[in-house]
Symmetry: C4
Subunit: 348 residues, 4 copies
């Protein structure tokens, strides 16, 4: 079976992963409306392609927070990569480095931050963080990440409690006994979020700021009001995200929310988006609407499930090729030529 | 089979109820367009969730007409609960009391008001009423309800004649011979609505007012014009309802009608809504659009069909848990923080 | 099998009619988009029902061109009723008279005008007419109809050529040899429209006017521009019609076109509509949008196919009952209370 | 099986062509959204048909760049006709001449320009051109076409690189060994577009202009901005096209793009459209929205696959008959009477 597009990897993963793992990765909250909307919303955006522009030399490079990546697609934080491939996050780290892009390692990794760092020295990595009731635990994680050379802190703000994912409830999902959330090993009991602090507010950004010199990127913003608050509280970046549709069902698709966040932010900080990216042309749409970079979640897991590091590279390479082609066919030779004039929202 | 969400109870009831009972409960008028629209209309409403608000202590309590309930979901009036469970409305009353919420007992109960009262003393209950041709019969019912401690009178106004429910016609629906509409036993022949008075007008509200000191809640309003009339005629509350889509097909979904009713009422009386509530987040949407409380009809019957009192409690508990979670994920720690800023209507 | 609603008759006819006859009656032009849109467009209209109005005495009577009918549903002109029932148009005439409504007999009847008249003396009937190349033939038909007591002339204007109905082409549709288009027996070869004159223009209305004192109703108008021309050329009525979707595919649904025609006509002549009526509430919608009366085509044929005169009466009685019920549930006790305030167009 | 409408030919071709050839002709880029939208967009346009206009004498003739054709439907450039029929483009040329319309021969023909010319002397033909890296090759093709009597040069501008057609990738599509892209035989390796020059810009129009006196028609324009540039660079015509949905997926449907191109061009050059034409009424819609002529791609290939020259003539004849009928039913006796007043965009 030739792997031609990302849905080929999805089909593979669905076929070969244990059902409980597939279900966990695929799960959306409640009716999965938002999970599916993330994808459908891209289909409602139409290109306005321009012709006869010199696209003989294509340049997909961009910078995020000052660091160059080979193309504007990074790896979003997702948990439990050993469910997809034995080497888990170590493979993810290697693939991201090989493709010269950014990997956001999740707190819920099945490898330690140290193992991830050692697996792919020199790769661009950010660390995804929750604020725990036990602030000392959070502080220790931040400082470990900084010491290991992670270059950004991604604070997830949409999980005061875990969303209701019906299949996980039905399956009684929990990690197989030979896997561990190693970063939290002693303090944490998997699948109870009781360690997360639901009392966190914007003021805790100042506390986090006091712990580290790393840039803080806030993940899970969906409204202009919260985007404005994020800027005012001094974050360096915003990831427009609805947690892959796994938290509050029937919120907005991320590509729709991106528009209002970008408008509110007015260039003061970088804005990224995750959720629903399935083709290179989706990346082009997100950039046209103001994202500096996109991050992929489930497709990265499908790549891992297919062939570990190699499979994930294949996923990234397909997205890169498709992105290059759609840029060229839309008349853009470099990322700087991408702008809102390239797209319109379909009336349907 | 784990009961994870309300559709699990629906599937159970469809499988285990006698077809004639399932069909009766499920029936909508004509093409069932409005019945189904009640649900679809919720899906067209999108949340605008807010992040980083302290949601560590959640408070779902509210008051309806001055009485506190544990969360803003009550039991709508539906007929013939013995079709779902042998103990009928006695079980319903017990479950509502256990969950500390309001139960609106139907005129078409298969237990008497006295039996219902005795089954769950002290529970918050309203009594649903039609105006009969024989006004003395209506008067007697009102006075029995008041004497038994019912705290509100719900006047249903959308049944001058019964809607055309095709399946009931095909099935030749009638109550099994061992069940009776006990409140009307002598005066009433089941499934002929001939006792209801189609000449009732707004002036009859004054007559009803003269019979009782109980608050009057009018059920079945769908337009701003009628909402204004209801306020002017001195009712204490309005239930926006289309009778679960069982009366006039192709009227508005209740959640859509709620918007114009709330706008017309401008806070002068309390507004409630029923129809189409299937998830805790639907409750949050209804409250965001101005409802003080919602009432569930068919889901309560599915709960009864599953396990009587216990099954209905399970339905209510799931709704309560889902409502609490969706409040938290939208950034609200108490009902007073819920407002229209939380929602927008999808363009689709 | 109980006949509960009109689709029961449709299912019956599809099952028991010869395929070639069913296909002929069911056929729409090209992709059948307009045929199906006629029905779907009704579903996009929502009622705004009003409550607590005295609907104890219901009055469905109306007048068309001065003559009272028992309710605002007549029989549209359709051809070849013997394909549905051996007695053909004689049964149709009897059923219409029994229900005290108007029957528009088609030029393409399989009974003569004389047979139709004799079958149901005293019934209200209009005669549907094309203008033939041979004007003398048309003149003779008009004068026969007038002499026989037909009370209106319905001029069909949307058939300069016959629409392309794929199934009829595939079936090689033609009348069985024992049936004849008796009104045109000598001059006419079935299924070649070559006798119809595609050069007819508005001026021919004056010619028709000169032949008869009967009121002229023009059938097939779909735009405000043509409605204005019809009024200026002195017709007495307009039937908004797209020939059941059998002529130009992808024109407007008739209920949508009705709105602009009614607006253009401003009460100067009566406006009727056909196409897509399947429920009593469709009649209510059409009247709310300004139609004086509706006409049914295919449902009448299904009624004939079921049980001849008796079957058609059953169809009419169901529509009448449903219309009465929907009036009452919307808060109208008589046709004069029906108005545009009762409906709104759904945004979907 | 009777061939009644174009989808009959599609079904035939799908059944009888080798899968690899069917897939190649049917392919769209990526998710095939734009390919399918080309068709769906026509269905969202509604006619406003006018009645009682003399349509006894119908005239479908029009002129494109000064040359009369029998009706406004030509053959769009598509490659590899021998995949559909052994005689390939020679049959296409003969059918177009027989129907007295225009055939745009593709660079990727499996017959030489000389063979095409010889097959149907005197037929109206344009030649479709890409600009190659090797400009001498392009120049030679232009001059051969001009010498052979081709009357227009169609420059395709939407293929700086080939779109990603998943089925072709899966099939490993390439021409069977006995077929050749004869016009480019020595210089060209099939299915690598490496000979095409992705650095082409608007200035190259001036270069092309310098090579020939033939009118230049630019194919692949989808925006008002590019339409304005085309006019300014002195082209004689514009074909609004998205390459049948085979290049950039999720661009606009061509009939939607036509509207803005026609508006921008303001009559300064002729505008044509291809993509999604499946019925005669689609032609009427395109003309109503300002196209001077339409071109068919896949339907021509289905015709060839059915019966070569004869099959393609049958396809054209059906379109012609349907176009004539839809003109008449909309109230137009000649092409000059077709205008924007005939159509409206459906709200759905």
């Amino acid at each position: 079976m030739a792997m031609v597009c990302l849905s080929d990897f999805e089909a593979y993963a669905k076929k070969y992963l244990p059902k409980i793992a597939w279900d966990y990765f695929a799960a959306g909250a409640d009716d999965c409306t938002t999970r599916d909307e993330n994808i459908l919303a891209y289909k409602r955006i139409r290109f306005r392609p321009r012709m006869l522009r010199d696209v003989s030399v294509m340049d997909m490079r961009t910078k995020i927070l000052g660091t160059e990546i080979s193309f504007p697609v990074g790896i979003a934080p997702t948990g439990f990569h050993q469910l997809a491939w034995p080497d888990g996050e170590k493979s993810t780290a290697r693939a991201a480095r090989a493709m010269n892009t950014c990997y956001i390692a999740s707190t819920y990794s099945t490898c330690t931050l140290e193992e991830i760092s050692a697996a792919a020295p020199g790769g661009l990595r950010w660390f995804q963080l929750y604020i725990h009731r036990n602030r000392a635990a959070s502080q220790q994680l931040v400082q470990r990440a900084e010491a290991l050379g992670f270059q950004g802190l991604v604070l997830t703000v949409d999980v005061p409690y875990t969303g209701k994912r019906r299949d996980d409830v039905r399956n009684g999902f929990r990690l197989p006994s030979h896997m561990k959330v190693k970063n939290l090993e002693r303090a944490f009991e998997v699948c109870k979020m009781s360690l997360l602090d639901p009392s966190v507010t914007w003021n805790d950004i100042y506390w986090l700021r006091s712990l580290t010199r790393l840039p803080i990127i806030i993940k899970g913003i969906l409204t202009r009001e919260d985007a404005e608050l994020a800027v005012r509280h001094g974050v360096q970046g915003i990831i427009v995200s609805n947690h892959g549709g796994r938290q509050l069902d029937e919120g907005p698709a991320t590509i729709d929310a991106l528009v209002e966040v970008v408008e509110a932010v007015r260039g003061r900080v970088e804005v990224y988006v995750d959720g629903g990216i399935r083709k290179g042309s989706d990346v082009l749409k997100a950039l046209a609407l103001g994202a500096k970079c996109v991050f992929i979640g489930r497709p990265a897991l499908w790549g891992l499930a297919y062939k570990g590091e190699e499979g994930l590279q294949e996923v990234l390479r397909i997205l890169q090729d498709e992105f290059r082609l759609s840029m060229a066919l839309a008349g853009c030779a470099s990322v700087s030529e991408i702008g809102q004039h390239l797209v319109q929202f379909s009336k349907l």
